[in-house]
């Protein structure tokens, strides 16, 4: 703890403080624009900081990272367009809330939940980092396989009223996930001889097309020329019912735990954390039917879960030298450039710098309360007032710019258009889109892990079940699948009695 008070002294100086404030705002902005994502922003900014005070550079990373996870919720709620892959689950209840005229309330809940998740995660990073990091080592390929399967089981929650269509969507996602070079055999799969497809379809490109284009087309269909008045936006007052905030606390606790748990595992990201948190909130609810129809608990779970992933994802990077995602890799490379050697001794090499970064992760989460609530939300919500004739082309341009800069190749724009048209048609026939993205994320993880596990066990499949953690995860998966069934049966019996 002494480390942190010393570090705090260094962080609470003009440079890092202004960097945190500016970059949190920038992060909210980046997260809110579909296509732009924190990884890209940090990758662009970090090299510029190589000659700067490292605490200022890391303050910018912390701000962009935390800010963008909340920023993604803004278009998710207002327009049903997730700003980042991690805010898909936020659209489930956020947009229905906005539709009911509760946009401001939904944004407030998203903001507070993001801050709570971020703070919980930063506290875990500061207090239990090395311990949690050692825990991740128990997770080998067999365990990762079961985590992916566990995640896929949560597909049940988003299939909506027609399970067959939901499963079809998930299978479509799995198929898209198999495209490109197979990392385990080096074979190109489903690339149709096209070089640009060797890397598979880019998740963000598909996401932007699939998720942003259909709502934009729907806006265009309305052909609304006038836009909303300030009064119609209902931004000023969003009364909370008594006890409503207190009711969110269990959801926050659960989502923070899930987010941290997912975060510490290298390779599993905020999108999985948000899906799992949402699923858990729905399963725990006494009224699961209200999810997907504007239940504030859904927004709270998703946003708290994806922010709780952030600081926790730094745990294996800072404690073991194993970057769990690209942002963590960028942070490690920044530390290396400042002469530090990532690994178990990192903290002792420079407690002020490493401790300072942890404090910055905490403070930028606190800043979301102040900046996200007061400034950012009000500014961004104004976009919703724009008449459709202005809003539609503006979003389209932003989408195209965002998608183009990911790989700098025009073909991605066609992929986005294709995915968008597919998404529009699928929505018209009531096929849910979320399972497609989930399949794309978890399919490759499940496939590669199980093949690695079988290589290690020399082809013996029982190894997938005999290890304690894998067995536990397998049972948990079964429970997640069966729990809603049991609940429905119980309710039916209760209704009959």
């Amino acid at each position: 703890m002494e480390f942190f008070t010393t570090a705090l002294g260094h962080v609470l100086t003009l440079g890092p403080l202004s960097a945190m404030t500016g970059s949190t705002l920038l992060g909210v902005f980046i997260g809110a624009l579909p296509g732009l994502n924190p990884v890209m922003a940090i990758a662009l900014l970090l090299p510029l900081t190589y000659s700067m005070d490292p605490l200022v550079a890391l303050a910018m990373v912390a701000g962009i990272y935390n800010g963008s996870m909340y920023g993604g919720a803004i278009p998710a709620i207002l327009l049903r367009i997730p700003g980042t892959p991690a805010s898909i689950a936020t659209t489930f209840d956020g947009f229905p809330m906005a539709d009911k005229g509760e946009a401001s309330k939904a944004l407030k809940i998203a903001c507070w939940s993001s801050a709570v998740g971020g703070i919980a995660s930063a506290v875990a990073l500061m207090t239990m980092g090395p311990l949690l990091a050692r825990l991740t080592l128990f997770f080998g390929p067999a365990e990762y396989f079961w985590i992916a399967i566990f995640g896929m089981a949560s597909v049940g929650v988003m299939v909506g009223s027609d399970p067959v269509k939901g499963i079809m969507a998930a299978v479509l996602g799995l198929l898209i996930g198999t495209m490109g070079i197979d990392n385990l055999s080096g074979q190109a799969r489903f690339t149709f001889g096209q070089t640009w497809m060797l890397g598979g379809l880019d998740l963000i490109v598909v996401l932007v097309g699939l998720y942003a284009l259909p709502p934009v087309l729907q806006l265009a269909e309305k052909a609304d020329l006038r836009g909303l008045s300030a009064a119609q936006l209902k931004l000023a007052d969003a009364p909370f019912k008594p006890g409503e905030l207190r009711g969110l606390i269990p959801t926050w606790l659960r989502a923070s735990g899930i987010g941290i748990g997912v975060g510490i595992l290298p390779g599993a990201g905020g999108n999985i954390a948000a899906f799992l948190s949402y699923n858990a909130a729905k399963n725990a609810s006494s009224d699961p039917e209200s999810f997907g129809k504007g239940n504030p608990q859904g927004v709270a779970a998703a946003e708290c879960g994806n922010n709780a992933d952030n600081a926790a994802s730094m745990i294996p990077a800072l404690s073991l030298g194993i970057p769990g995602n690209v942002v963590a890799a960028l942070v490690l490379s920044a530390l290396t450039i400042h002469g530090l050697q990532p690994g178990p001794q990192l903290f002792h090499q420079n407690p002020v710098l490493v401790g300072g970064f942890m404090v910055e992760m905490l403070l930028t989460s606190v800043l979301i309360f102040a900046l996200g609530g007061a400034v950012a939300t009000r500014v961004f919500a104004q976009f919703q007032r724009l008449p459709g004739v202005l809003l539609v082309p503006s979003i389209l341009i932003l989408m195209c710019v965002g998608v183009y800069v990911i790989n700098g190749r025009p073909v991605d724009l066609w992929v986005m258009l294709g995915a968008g048209i597919a998404g529009y048609l699928l929505e018209k026939v009531n096929v849910p889109l979320a399972p497609i993205i989930l399949g794309m994320i978890l399919g490759p993880m499940a496939e590669q892990s199980v093949r690695r596990a079988l290589l290690i066990s020399r082809g013996d499949a029982t190894d997938l079940l005999t290890r304690p953690i894998s067995a536990g995860l397998a049972i948990a998966t079964l429970l997640v699948i069966l729990w809603p069934v049991v609940k429905t049966l119980r309710r039916r019996r209760a209704a009959r009695a």
């Binding site: 990884v39 890209m40 940090i42 990758a43 662009l44 090299p47 190589y50 991740t136 080592l137 128990f138 997770f139 080998g140 390929p141 490109g180 070079i181 990392n183 385990l184 055999s185 080096g186 190109a188 070089t195 640009w196 060797l198 890397g199 598979g200 290298p266 390779g267 294996p316 073991l320 030298g321 194993i322 970057p323 690209v326 942002v327 890799a329 960028l330 490690l332 490379s333 290396t336 450039i337 002469g339 050697q341 990532p342 690994g343 178990p344 001794q345 990192l346 790989n407 700098g408 190749r409 690695r452 290589l455 290690i456 020399r458």
Partner: protein, 316 residues
């Protein structure tokens, strides 16, 4: 009149041609990196780009095109115009290794070699309780137990795997390759005892050598590596000709003007040997190594041929 026009025309041509070189570069250069942001190739290229910007007096825009072990970026880059404003910062694997296992559209001829920048060896490490203390004992233990040990590597047909297999083939060793997504992932599985042997970059595993958790017994360079005193270089094991390194280079598109190549190679040489860059490389366990122009082309060709033979014998 006619003559005058011809002279005017010719001098205009000369005027066009000469400054094109003298003033190169007169606008921003786009540097394609065939890997995602944050990895070793990315950070070393970005750091170098900052120095090159200063020396060339122009800005350099970085474009990360990851995927396919670097082949996606290489394929995209080979279509660039050879005007000196599109450059490619790669490591050796996409050029010499990936084509052995993937059906790629490019070959060595698709690029103009400009200059290599730095290099480092790969290492093979085991846990502290492994029954071997030297490189020789390590290889003997592997040879005595065919199919018993698993080693993690950076991906199927990647340079790390081929570097290891070159040694294993020479010693008739059968170890099971487990491909991971990169050295970080390999380290995680090595520390968690999911694989027996760590195969990958030195800098990633180095902290665990210092804590005593890992012992690195072999490096894939001919010479020993000072940072790893317990590891044998291949020369000392009589395998000096099986050296495989990880190295980085700047390439141009096919048919790049030799004058531009020469100018860039000179500037890269300066930048790489800048004390700040040498210091930066040291933190990653790399050393500067500048091979320019045609000599670089020869290096690529001989590595390509050696790895072609290994992968053929592996049946990849």
């Amino acid at each position: 009149m006619k003559l005058k026009a011809t002279i005017l025309g010719m001098s205009a041509l000369v005027a066009l041609a000469a400054p094109a070189l003298a003033e190169y570069p007169e606008r921003a250069i786009e540097l394609t990196i065939p890997a995602g942001a944050g990895g070793g190739t990315d950070t070393s290229a970005r750091k170098l780009a900052i120095l090159l910007e200063e020396k060339l007096g122009t800005s350099i825009a970085i474009l990360n095109v990851g995927g396919g072990g670097g082949s996606v970026g290489a394929s995209q880059f080979m279509q660039a115009k050879p005007d000196g404003y599109s450059l490619f910062a790669t490591w050796n694997s996409p050029i010499t290794t990936v084509p052995q296992v993937q059906n790629v559209a490019y070959s060595l001829d698709s690029f103009t070699p400009i200059a290599s920048t730095s290099e480092t060896a790969y290492t093979l490490c085991v846990k502290a309780d492994f029954p071997a203390a030297t490189g020789e004992e390590f290889l003997a233990e592997l040879a005595a137990n065919p199919g018993k040990y698993t080693y993690g590597n950076d991906g199927i047909g990647g340079t790390m795997q081929l570097a290891a297999e070159r040694i294993f083939q020479a010693k008739e060793i059968d170890a099971i390759a487990i491909p991971f997504g990169g050295a970080g992932e390999t380290l995680q599985n090595f520390l968690g005892n999911h694989v027996d042997i760590y195969g990958g970059s030195i800098s990633t595993v180095l902290p665990y050598v210092e804590t005593g958790e890992a012992k690195c017994l072999l490096v894939t360079s001919a010479a020993d590596v000072p940072a790893l005193p317990d590891a044998s270089g291949l020369e000392s094991l009589g395998l000096g000709d099986k050296e495989t390194l990880l190295w980085r280079a700047i390439l141009g598109p096919k048919d790049l003007d030799p004058a531009i190549v020469e100018k860039l190679a000179a500037v890269i040489d300066e930048a790489v040997n800048d004390p700040s860059y040498v210091e930066f490389l040291a933190t990653k366990g790399e050393v500067p190594n500048v091979v320019k122009g045609d000599a670089l082309g020869d290096r690529l060709q001989s590595e390509y041929d050696a790895l072609a033979e290994v992968s053929k014998r592996l049946g990849l």
